[in-house]
């Protein structure tokens, strides 16, 4: 190999010996093999090693485990874990608990994503026009986002449990059985909870996107006689479309990661699995019941579903 190793930004024009540390000198073997500043490799090495050890290797291990009859054994014990092909996937899909968990995540997304997108966009537009007390609103929106799920869950338990604040206020109108042990209400309460908790972050994304919508479009819209609502629909909504795509993808990933809320709010996905989530089932199957192989298969299925939803979302929102 005699070509330079420049792959970075501006690498093209910077090539050639006139940019070498010692002008005129022929490039050394080291710089030809490793690039002009081989120290960069040393700087980036910890990160690269970390990626290999904590990301690439476990990723491969997850796929490996999902194709084998894998079980926990003492470290360094010699046990045979035969290849079983798609058996773990078949077991996972045949399990009613798993199916329920995946159905739940779809219901969760159907409730959570529209609430998140609509509220975050409306509140970001409102916040963009508010001049006074802006800091107060910003803090108010972001406090749930920066607060630990476990802490906020405590507040929601206080609000929505059997004799919680909301039921007391509603009195006889309160649902029976109460919110979190009600088969048809537990999951919606969780979906609303997560939408509310994440809202500050998504408002932040929309605020950044709103800065990129050209002001001239609003002016020409008002010249054409468009009212506030009309120009919101005709200018703002299409203007922030890339941000909407990002919000939908991130909300989907959040939904797929759901664990803390069903575990704590509904006592491990109750009533009767009505609010369980795939990650919760992974935890129960993999670690509580000692079937890491089936749990890994659930993980792989989950990630494939997230990728498919992300791709569909991109197709829908990024076409012109």
């Amino acid at each position: 190999m005699t070509t330079t190793a420049d792959t970075g930004r501006g690498g093209g024009p910077a090539r050639g010996h006139d940019h070498d540390p010692a002008p005129g000198a022929p490039r050394s073997l080291v710089s030809r093999l490793l690039g002009r500043q081989p120290l960069g490799i040393l700087f980036a090495l910890p990160y690269a090693v970390y990626l290999a050890a904590i990301f690439a290797y476990p990723l491969g291990l997850a796929v490996y485990i999902s194709f084998h009859d894998y079980f926990f054994a003492a470290p360094r014990a010699r046990v045979s874990r035969p290849f079983v092909g798609l058996q773990n996937y078949a077991d996972a899909i045949a399990d009613p608990d798993v199916r329920q968990a995946f159905r739940n995540v779809l219901v969760f997304l159907v409730i959570n994503v529209p609430i998140t997108v609509v509220l975050a966009l409306l509140l970001a537009v409102a916040l963009n026009t508010v001049v006074q007390a802006r800091t107060f609103f910003r803090v108010a929106y972001y406090v749930p986002y920066v607060t630990a799920s476990v802490a906020v869950v405590a507040v929601w338990l206080f609000l929505f449990s059997g004799d919680g604040l909301v039921s007391r206020l509603l009195g006889p109108l309160a649902p029976d059985p109460p919110w979190l042990v009600n088969e048809s209400l537990a999951l919606p309460v969780i979906a609303v909870f997560v939408a509310w908790k994440q809202l500050g972050f998504f408002i932040l994304l929309y605020l950044a996107a709103l800065q990129n919508v050209p002001k001239e479009l609003y002016e020409s819209a008002s010249v054409d006689g468009a009212g506030r609502w009309r120009s919101f629909l005709a200018v703002t909504v299409p203007g922030v479309r890339p941000a909407t795509a990002l919000v939908v993808i991130l909300a989907t990933i959040t939904g797929a990661n759901l664990f803390t809320e069903p575990y704590l709010l509904t006592n491990g996905g109750g009533p009767d699995g009505a609010s369980s989530s795939p990650v919760l089932v992974m935890y129960q199957k993999g670690i509580e019941q000692g079937n890491p192989d089936i749990a890994s298969a659930i993980g792989v299925i989950l990630v494939i579903l997230v990728l498919v939803i992300s791709l569909i979302n991109r197709r829908l929102l990024e076409r012109d």
Binding site: S149, A256, N257
Partner: protein, 250 residues
């Protein structure tokens, strides 16, 4: 909505508006009886502090190398930085548990808690973006003056990207401080658990038997929420939309 979110802090006093009289210190004492608050806070602090220090240290090095140095493999590594942010953590939970807890025996240790979070691709990306914005002339001048790369990074580049440091510290703080699933899997001994985990265990196990469960839970929640909220309120001016946007766009 605004008021509802602020209730995170004000809730115990709303609880006081109901039957639970005389709540202030009783509840804290009660949760402290079951959960060693101080010990859990120390665990949370060690976990979060170690993650922040190593995230910033390795993030600065890798970000600088990706933005400012020319070396073989740079393009590939940057592609990996972007790729890593797409694959969600939940797929890695089981293999990481197999590796860290079962194979390396790091259950109930700080190291086991910290390892999966020690380096953060988002931080690498944020640092790279900030380093890229600095003018090349600064670096050429320093190199002509004979400064080595370590010295340039420490004396020229780092002082100029202080906002990035603050952004990364704040963003990184939120993660491990609030993280529940991973430390929950790794720590089974109560004296090793961060506050989020011990509070969650209290909620799911012990709360039913307490005389005033909500008061105690909310007292614990306030202790858990207070540092993050205080940090955020203190630095909210710096917690701007563009920083988050640049961190997430990858």
């Amino acid at each position: 909505m605004a008021i509802g979110s602020l209730q995170t802090m004000a809730d115990p006093s709303i609880g006081g508006a109901f039957d639970f009289s005389n709540l202030t210190l009783d509840n804290y004492a009660q949760i402290n009886e079951r959960v060693d608050l101080l010990r859990s806070l120390v665990n949370s602090g060690i976990f979060t502090g170690a993650v922040i220090v190593s995230t910033v240290f390795f993030g600065v090095l890798a970000g600088y190398a990706l933005a400012r140095l020319h070396w073989r493999g740079k393009g590939t590594l940057f592609a990996l930085v972007l790729l890593v942010q797409v694959v969600p953590f939940q797929l890695l939970v089981i293999p990481l548990y197999v590796m860290i807890v079962r194979s390396y025996g790091l259950a109930d240790s700080y190291l086991g808690m910290i390892v999966p979070f020690a380096i953060n691709s988002t931080a690498v990306f944020v640092f790279r973006q900030f380093f890229l914005q600095l003018p090349e002339d600064l670096f050429s001048a320093a190199r002509i003056d004979g400064a080595g790369e370590f010295r340039i990074l420490w004396s020229v580049a780092l002082p100029l990207v202080r906002p990035a440091l603050l952004t990364v510290v704040l963003l990184t703080f939120i993660g491990p401080w609030n993280e529940f699933l991973w430390p929950f899997l790794v720590t089974k001994q109560a004296d090793m658990q961060p506050l989020a985990v011990s509070l969650a265990n209290y909620i799911s196990n012990a709360a039913g038997r307490a005389s005033n469960p909500f008061g105690a839970i909310l007292a614990g929640a306030v202790v858990l929420a207070a540092p993050a909220v205080a940090l955020f309120v203190a630095f909210q001016r710096h917690f701007t939309s563009s920083d988050i946007g640049s961190g997430v766009k990858g």
